[in-house]
């Protein structure tokens, strides 16, 4: 099989496998996987910024929350239906990432981490401060009437899974196409050697800003669908925890691999799920797993696979 076809077959097979999973697995896992797919989209966005372009952001919770509140508030105040709400959330993620990027990308490295963290914290505190609009700490429940697309109730398992899979499939195909495109090559060039890239005629600022906006669109889409699929919008999704999670998913699954975010999100989700059923000190087990990973597979699961067996993995 030619290398190009092999790549597409693999990724389409993963989508097909996820489609089949809903008919094979018990309902408990079907709901879990719907959640994992949405979180994986968030992590894919993080991977575009961090894994491919080398932008270590600590503020992606802000972009996720922008999507979550963008969709939730559009439904709550404007009474928009699910599909326009979803688009509103997607755009909110992209716009917020663009504005943050315009300012934060004047810095690099550790300063960039701190500036993005600062913006995310400011966003979190703003959500609490404007409690009359956002519901503050308690958040709000998305009205069932706002959670239907073409008459299909997203609160039902089958439709919920369907939308999550649809979003994931579009996100995965776009990501695969992006990182194998000429622009994807430039993103990697920025990560690998910014000064050289500049002397090949690429403006580091515009390239990194574009990558961050794409990353924000992913996070926004994930946040928006999280609100619509699980019916709750709350400030806890804007906390630092939701900036760290996508980073962990990406590191665990393999930074700079297209399927890494899915693998990372799934492994982490079930690790926490299993560990918390065994012991109340489940975070200890999760921490242990991460330490072992750093020691034995510092490039993540798929990073290790690519290094040892499959150099062609995008």
């Amino acid at each position: 099989m030619n290398p190009n076809a092999r790549v597409w077959v693999l990724h389409l097979a993963v989508i097909a496998g996820l489609y089949a999973a809903q008919f094979i697995l018990p309902p408990y896992h079907v709901t879990n996987i719907a959640r994992i797919m949405v979180l994986a989209v968030f992590a894919m966005g993080y991977n575009i910024a961090f894994g491919y372009t080398g932008l270590l952001s600590l503020g992606h919770a802000l972009f996720f929350a922008a999507g979550l509140y963008g969709a939730g508030l559009a439904g709550y105040f404007l009474e928009w239906s699910a599909l326009p709400s979803l688009l509103a959330g997607l755009m909110a993620g992209g716009v917020v990432a663009g504005v943050v990027g315009l300012l934060a990308l004047r810095t690099a490295g550790v300063s960039f981490m701190i500036v993005t963290l600062m913006f995310a914290q400011a966003g979190y505190l703003s959500i609490l401060y404007f409690g009359s609009l956002t519901g503050g700490d308690e958040g709000f429940v998305v009205d069932a009437a706002r959670r239907t697309i073409a008459g299909l109730d997203l609160a039902l398992d089958g439709y919920r899974y369907g939308l999550a899979l649809g979003l994931f499939a579009v996100a995965l195909v776009c990501c695969l196409w992006l990182v194998r495109s000429p622009f994807g090559r430039i993103m990697v060039a920025m990560r690998e050697n910014q000064e050289r890239s500049r002397m090949l005629g690429y403006n580091p600022f515009t390239i990194k800003l574009t990558a961050l906006v794409i990353s924000g669109l992913y996070a926004g889409a994930a946040g928006a669908s999280y609100a619509l699929l699980f019916g709750y919008v709350g400030a806890s999704f804007a906390t630092i925890q939701y900036s760290i999670l996508p980073m962990l998913y990406v590191l665990l699954g393999g930074a700079g691999t297209v399927l890494g975010p899915l693998v990372g999100a799934a492994v982490m989700f079930y690790l926490i799920d299993y560990a918390s059923s065994v012991t109340s000190a489940y975070l200890f087990l999760v921490g242990l797993a991460l330490v072992l990973l750093v020691i034995f597979a510092p490039r993540g699961v798929l990073g290790a696979v690519r290094e040892r067996w499959a150099r062609w993995l995008p």
């Binding site: 000429p182 690998e192 050697n193 050289r196 090949l200 005629g201």
Partner: protein, 234 residues
């Protein structure tokens, strides 16, 4: 003939160090202009000012009569000023193909793959496209750096000590390659190897302590007493 590129009174100090201290330089279209001088004479700083990597304290840079002093480096590359680094600067973890493709696609050419393979063949790296750049020998990495410069199809190619670390055979093919570039491309060459300089250069500018000591044809420079004292004779 009108100058292709012109430096007017360029000054750049680093603290107390007068790296470039009032330099005028004219690049004629189609020439190979060598920039020579002892270590620390300010050669790399001067080409840094021309390529836009370094901002001058004073002075102006003109490209075909247009003032580009405030133009950032990446925009100058788009105008056709390419720079190859003195200290090899490639993308070590990417494939050789991707390294050159990054340069070639910046020009928006149609058939990327054939243009990349063509450029690799020109510098003698045919068949190495799938290697990771870090796996190449030092000499081959220098040639890759050169290939990236060529793939930009520049109107001015600035080569900062390109033959450093090349084997004798590689230097010969490098000479032939540079000769074949003119007159479509104008070359500004920083070089310590005097055989290469005297063989290739149409004109030579000698830099010493951040100032121009002399400019002229190879014969004029060879006969210049001040140059002999500062550099050639030493």
């Amino acid at each position: 003939m009108a100058a292709l590129m012109q430096a007017l009174g360029l000054v750049r100090h680093f603290g107390g160090l007068h790296a470039v201290d009032g330099v005028d330089l004219v690049l004629e279209p189609g020439e190979i202009h060598a920039l020579i001088g002892p270590n620390g004479a300010g050669k790399t700083t001067l080409v840094g000012l021309l390529s836009g990597r370094i901002v001058p304290d004073r002075g102006r840079v003109l490209l075909a009569g247009e003032d580009i002093t405030r133009l950032p480096a990446h925009a100058r590359v788009r105008r056709g000023i390419a720079y190859t680094f003195q200290i090899t600067s490639i993308f070590p973890r990417l494939s050789v193909f991707d390294n050159v493709a990054l340069a070639a696609q910046s020009q928006g050419g149609r058939n990327l793959a054939s243009s990349v393979h063509g450029t690799l063949a020109r510098v003698g790296l045919r068949g190495l496209a799938d290697r990771t750049a870090a796996q190449l020998s030092y000499g081959h990495q220098r040639l890759l750096e050169l290939a990236m410069g060529l793939a930009l199809h520049p109107c001015i190619l600035i080569l900062d000590e390109p033959t450093q670390g090349l084997a004798a055979g590689e230097i010969d093919s490098f000479r032939a390659l540079v000769k074949a570039l003119v007159p479509e491309t104008t070359v500004l060459l920083i070089e310590h190897n005097m055989d290469v300089v005297m063989d290739l250069a149409t004109r030579i500018t000698v830099l010493n302590f951040g100032r121009v000591l002399a400019t002229g044809t190879p014969d004029e420079i060879r006969a210049n007493a001040a140059v002999q004292e500062a550099y050639l004779g030493a």
